[in-house]
Symmetry: D3
Subunit: 287 residues, 6 copies
């Protein structure tokens, strides 16, 4: 097994509670408020994990007892402050900043491993952007969520408005929550279709449940798991026929794995099949 | 506050029950059946409201006790009647008419303010096209809904088939309702994910509930509210990355408002922040 | 009425329990496992039915007591077996095979008649691809479903990953099921929004319920029913404005039917309107 | 023949030099500089012409001897001037203005009749946006063109950057011209593929050539001509298969005209076939 | 080498003038007018060739001295004739017919081998639809071309309007030709960018030139040639980033061929590299 | 002026021959063959330049006398070599590598400054991918170009097949060149529409011409230049209306620059207007 201590950071804690599973916890006291170095570190870790063949599933949560995250660190942002630039040039600065920030959150969607987001306590603002970019969302019954951006004069621009409505089952409720900035709990999150499980309790309980799921996924063929995530991402953004075409091209190589034979052998021998890891890719060296 | 009497019409009643909120009620007795002048007036009002900075949220309902709307005024339509044209030329007439009609309904989607649709009593046929083009949908418990077009030999062409499946959570049920023309009540609408609230009672109760929500939205920053609606419309119709790109361009200017500073100040002073209206735009003069 | 015995096949049983309704049942003992000739036959039948104006609605189910289908016939597939080709050429073989297989399943989506899928017993793997390509899904309470592909080292490439997430209301749950290959029952299918009705019982009960719906649909105008299905397929894959544009072009001819007049006459005379069948189209002769 | 004097305006001169052909000339001395009322009038005229079945082809040019148009009337614009709004609210004003302006130019693309743009003399800035929205472009040998916006601190936002590269044959040259704002003549326009004919001379010569083409088009079936323009607009913006699908829906009614029979009869009788006009549509009354 | 006599047909003549090259010639006297059985046969042949690994390049031309093709066989079409159906049902018939016809022409685009179209003499109407669906177009100097559909009351619906503008360099000229139905010769075709070579002479000369090119292509790696055609088709219809994504998925298997090693070896040994054919795929048996 | 020595690299030479212009030259002897560190360095430099407000235009060329670039360094690639992985896992390795390589070339398209590509001598294989990603292409008369990938068993996957056909005027010729791998000179490049200028001579002459253009662009408003490039990139990949929508959002802030006022003042005072640089953005620190 890989040494996951390489994924510890200034604001992140990494551990591997079961084989091929990474538990990554936000860890910036007192409330996991996100300033630039925080999300830049998250992106860096996720991009390195993505290319690590030893990790097959990620659980994303927090190390703080009461906070998944309180959202953006408003003291750390320049939005709303005076600058000495005309509005066009100031606009370009903001544009660059938004794109960098978006890319950091999108790294969760793009990484090869499924990401299970285990939310509890306060999970506000950016929490929803982050959770929306994950594959699976679990909530503790003590969670308080909110699409808070509208309350500070902003349209959420880091992914909630783009991703959340595509994964829930009530567009009217999604708009209510986004337009009011109203806080909501686990029951509403479930009714909305935003989470697939509500776990009685708080931080520990929801992380435990997420780890059970992660273990189950990590035991499946990593070729199949990576392909399933990758194809579902693609399918969400394309017409059905377009998705089928892409899938056919993707599977032209992915079906040439040893894993199907291993699966069938496993079924016949009534043994748990063993799958090789994906090859680790080198992150392009920074020059 | 703006004088909303300018938004009264032959078939519409306008009032402003709370600051910056417009209540617009259909008002064509006996059943709000839609003929051409009715939806043309609706479009005209909504397009003017859209450019009125004093209005921050719209509640759309009806002034008639039993009818949100019974749908299309079949006596007022030429469909199904003989004409003295070859089928190609007749087809062009129909094409023009459909496009005009579609554009009228789409004005609800395109206007700057969120629109909350408060349905009750009979909400049939065109009612569903209209509600689907709104941002939030509430229903009274006495509502009778129906995607009735199939019952009169038509595929609904004014928006239900395009918009409804994208905002609900059960595609199988959506097709059942569209293919049968079956009537359904508030419970089914909620199970489907079409409405986000069912209010016990009828017309008055559901309008009251919608006005509470409208007031909440109207007190938020209009820059943030307009942006949130605009971006959610865009996101529905685009891949996630495409939506993020557009959002970044949009927010390059939208983040340069005074509203974030006002929000933060409000939080710190524990006062309700006060936001300026959007600038009113002149509707291009008709020549 | 058409003679539906022409739609019997080696692996399919055809009957017409009510006017203009075709009940098509899978029929390959012992478990409806799909090898190539099975799905090729299904495509051939569906494409011929599509052009048959006498059929207005299809119910798709199985003739076997315990199995809707157990999924792919793994003995009948070459996946996972050695071949004497370089990986590029082998990839082209797989690509061709996947495209043919996809096209067979997509025939359900493309055929002119709505297809109601009545599932019960084991409905595994390919069952979900097939059901996702249908318009309406009913399940018996005894059903056991599963997106099983990940369990045999594959990303499902015949349509589940493309279509299922677009018709359900909980993206997190959809990914859970696809990434784990976990089996699930009728309650989960309903909570997910995958089926619109759960029928107490098994094979007979769910087929009966589907036939009631089929009869209701078959009595509506076939111009309206075909258009509604066709337009909903289009709308799913396009932005709203794009869908509206296409609908306007489509209805330029479709509104020139006699069916609207017949509907209105029916309402006025309080009689059930009678609609002519669609014209049958000749399948292009095979050369 | 229709009375085209209804299409005269404060800034436009209308005439009908041959049957079913409208010659529309810009007419604001001294240089056809465009302020808001000018392009609003153009839109109004074009939208009315579009629904006039008597007009089958439009030639767009100018009544001034030396100027097709010198472009935007910079004295008439608020861009670059101080306003008393925060940058977000000012941005919304600009956004609204740009959309209105774009829609005015796009009316040329959307109108049912082909538009032939006859350029000569100075055809700068907005001239290129306008010409790009037309179907066919002719230039007099004396023309001076230029994508001038970059010279006044702007990215052209009324259509040149969107449309011109899609209709020319050298993307490198298109970018050179847009990034430098360099003026260019008829030879470059032809080498670029922007015009299909260069006519020796100036205003009169190029208008005469355009009228010859217009007459030829106006004698063809208006069902076929309208369809050809409409479908080519659609095809430009879509993948080929998507374009074919739309075309099939469009032609389902358009092929049911009397014009094909008239054409074939004409061929057999060696007579010029006579086609009926399209039906005129009423512009929705302004309320 | 494969026996290409299997590709002879009632209206087609097949030969193989050099290894792995198929010359397919239209052969319906006196003018290659296309009725339904003609294009149905063409589709059948092309689809079988597509799956034949022995064929690496196709030259498409005609066996008749003066005619590539005169276009549609108007005596063989039902367009413009009376039918006993309402316009909606008649529209569905036309829709089905157009789709079948389009699919026949699109088989040229979808087949694995590049198709070189060698035009001469009369190449009218459908000739342009066919040529537009090919990869490379050569013209003899004696060619007479024309987008003739507008002359018989139709908007061309089999592919010219969708494909031609995307492969030429002067959108204004493309519209002129489509809107007038004007005939044009080799010089205009070249100026337009529609053909890449004009060959002095007629039938024999242009076929000879096409065969030289076909031989050159057939000697390249068939993995590379198939991939290049397939990817260029995809790229034409997608945004650049989308095309790059698809290409990466495609090449994940295609780069695992033996052909690159063979190429490099060839360069080093100064020998012509020898590449294996693609595997032949079985056309799914017709049931 | 910025110190451009920071943009020197192991394989790149940077200089600034005129204000705000960067000349970047490939510099890996003997033939600028690209191995991974070479294109990784190029990406790193271009991404840093992109955020440098002092650079307003880039000329990309080579420091070697005879070679723009000979293309891929085949000794430095693992393609075609044996690996100890199943084809699926090997496919994922290739996929990752292709994506990284593509992103490096795409950095030229995404950077804020226009890039003028000055080609001469051998400009083969990857040279065409690179040139296609630039804004403007100039060629010396001594250039030898070639889309060589097909000659080594590959479909070009780094951008040529995606970008080149969208910027040229003869799709038939583009396919000929890509399918044969034939070498071609400046005249063909110009006929194809791939370059906008052919300069008599070789390296020095074409670089000089490119620098003249770069100087002209660098003197324009950088707000306008950046916007023009950005919008033209967007427009290439979108339908026209979609492009217009995006442009309106972009210009909502970009029109709020001081540059329009400066331009107008310049015109009135008959002085060269002076524009401020764009703000430099910090590249996110590498963690």
């Amino acid at each position: 097994m890989t040494d996951v201590s390489q994924y510890n950071g200034k604001f992140h804690r990494a551990s591997s509670p079961s084989p091929n599973v990474l538990l990554l916890e936000f860890n910036r006291k007192p409330a996991n408020a996100f300033h630039d170095p925080f999300w830049m570190e998250m992106r860096d870790i996720i991009e390195r994990v993505s290319r690590d063949g030893n990790i097959r599933c990620i659980v994303l949560s927090s190390a703080l007892d009461k906070f998944f995250t309180a959202g953006l660190d408003l003291d750390g942002t320049s939005i709303g402050k005076a600058v000495n630039l005309d509005a066009a040039r100031r606009g370009f600065e903001l544009y660059n900043h938004i794109k960098d920030f978006q890319d950091a959150i999108s790294s969760l969607e793009h990484c090869r491993q499924p990401v299970i987001c285990a939310m509890y306590g306060y999970a506000l603002g950016l929490a929803i952007d982050i959770a929306s970019a994950c594959d699976v969302r679990f909530a503790a019954s003590n969670v308080t969520m909110g699409i808070m951006e509208v309350k500070v004069g902003l349209a959420a621009d880091i992914g909630t408005l783009q991703r959340l409505p595509k994964v829930v089952g009530n567009g009217s409720l999604a708009r209510e929550l986004a337009l009011t900035g109203r806080k909501f709990g686990a029951a509403t999150a479930q009714e909305l279709g935003f989470v697939s499980k509500v776990v009685d309790g708080g931080r520990q309980e929801v992380i435990d449940a997420a780890l059970v799921l992660a273990k189950e996924i990590a035991e499946n063929s990593p070729v199949a798991v990576y392909g399933t995530k990758h194809i579902m991402n693609h399918a969400r953004d394309h017409a059905v026929q377009e998705g089928l075409n892409y899938e056919a091209a993707w599977n032209a190589s992915a079906l040439q794995s040893n894993d199907t034979a291993a699966s069938i052998l496993g079924v016949r021998k009534r043994q748990v099949p063993v799958y090789e890891n994906l090859p680790s890719a080198h992150v392009p060296a920074k020059l």
